[in-house]
Symmetry: C2
């Protein structure tokens, strides 16, 4: 499948590399593609020039990534996701599976971060992405584990669950199939896109568990 | 141990019955103890008159429950917890282990509920209880599972975790010991009382999981 990643940080790079390794055709979109942006140091990640060399995939504009992708991944910072997706283009997202991996975390008061007020309470970023791009088929997924576990769940020994939600059943199945390509086998479907409220709260728990243990490599399992 | 429960709803009744069955001396406090309040129908729970007959424990005022308890349980509705604990009495709580089981859920927009704005973001109910009663030794615990699982974790087959947090290590160990009496054996310590942010978010996830599955009997396991 052709996959367009929107966002060039560690999550976008890791998912892009993972999809490329799994045999998909990947393009990764950033705002401006110049020699400078490709060489720019990035927090906890390679430069995008290095990423291109390692993956064989191309860095393009956000607009081109959304246009080329049959599935599109929102791997931007949650605070800037709606703006980035507008740049990617409403028409380019229409009809597409849009995997929303973003978390609307507010680090303004230091650690631990908390959920941004405008994306919590009786709403969530996932819901607002779906509302802003009604023709996209939004699936919230992958946002509850650290980037390396997203594409390699086997890093965590033992069975653990991948959460997803969205309004479109076929889109959710498409995302499960992509996740199976990474080795995921246990899915917890949190229903329609309102489930994003729960999934985005998981990341606050995730940050807390990381803080108290010093180790971000873990997963969750719902036990019944 | 003498345990004072503050709150006569299903959570207070279930925990009170569980502690009594485990051999503790239990009193359960409500605002006004009258023949009418004891006979009053309660949402998803017995009348308190029935509860007294079944458990052999006594219903008293909130103030007496806090005064008598060596450990005190906040089993009130999260929206009213601070007020209820003020009625229970600051002096009666001083030096006591205060187990905060309450969840600040807002049902005003129907299902699913969400966390009340004043107790989410960069704060939580657990933190605000600790701040309002600085001499109490607050431990947030039991708030992430349905009442019947709190006192009977074996209802969920398979190993699952009980979360707790608080500023006082000895108080946390006292709560672990009380939980062991119910059969809990796996604990995830979320650190100081700021961990209540994570634990209170779990309940939103819990409600969602219940909604999509139709079954509230489940637990969580952190997989490493």
């Amino acid at each position: 499948m052709r996959i367009g990643i929107v966002g060039g940080g560690s999550v976008g790079q890791t998912l892009g590399a993972g999809f490329a390794k799994a045999g998909h055709e990947v393009v990764l979109g950033i705002r401006e593609v110049t020699p400078e942006t490709l060489a720019q140091p990035r927090n906890q990640a390679r430069t995008l020039a290095e990423w291109q060399d390692e993956t064989g995939a191309r860095v393009v504009t956000m607009e081109e990534a959304a246009w080329r992708g049959e599935a599109v991944v929102n791997a931007t910072n949650g605070a800037g996701s709606l703006e980035a997706l507008r740049i990617a283009g409403t028409r380019n997202l229409a009809g597409k599976v849009l995997i929303d991996v973003a978390n609307p975390l507010d680090f303004s008061k230091g650690m631990p971060p908390f959920l941004m007020a405008e994306y919590s309470g009786p709403t969530s970023l996932g819901e607002q992405v779906q509302a802003a791009f009604p023709e996209a088929r939004v699936v919230k997924c992958f946002n509850t584990v650290t980037a390396s576990v997203m594409t390699n769940p086997g890093l965590v020994p033992g069975e653990h669950d991948l959460f997803l939600c969205g309004d479109d059943e076929a889109a959710k199945e498409a995302v499960r199939e992509l996740a199976r390509g990474f080795g995921w086998s246990r899915f917890v479907d949190l229903g329609d896109i309102k489930g994003a409220r729960a999934q985005e709260m998981f990341v606050v728990i995730w940050v807390r568990l990381w803080m108290v243990s010093g180790d971000p490599i873990f997963g969750y399992r719902i036990v019944r």
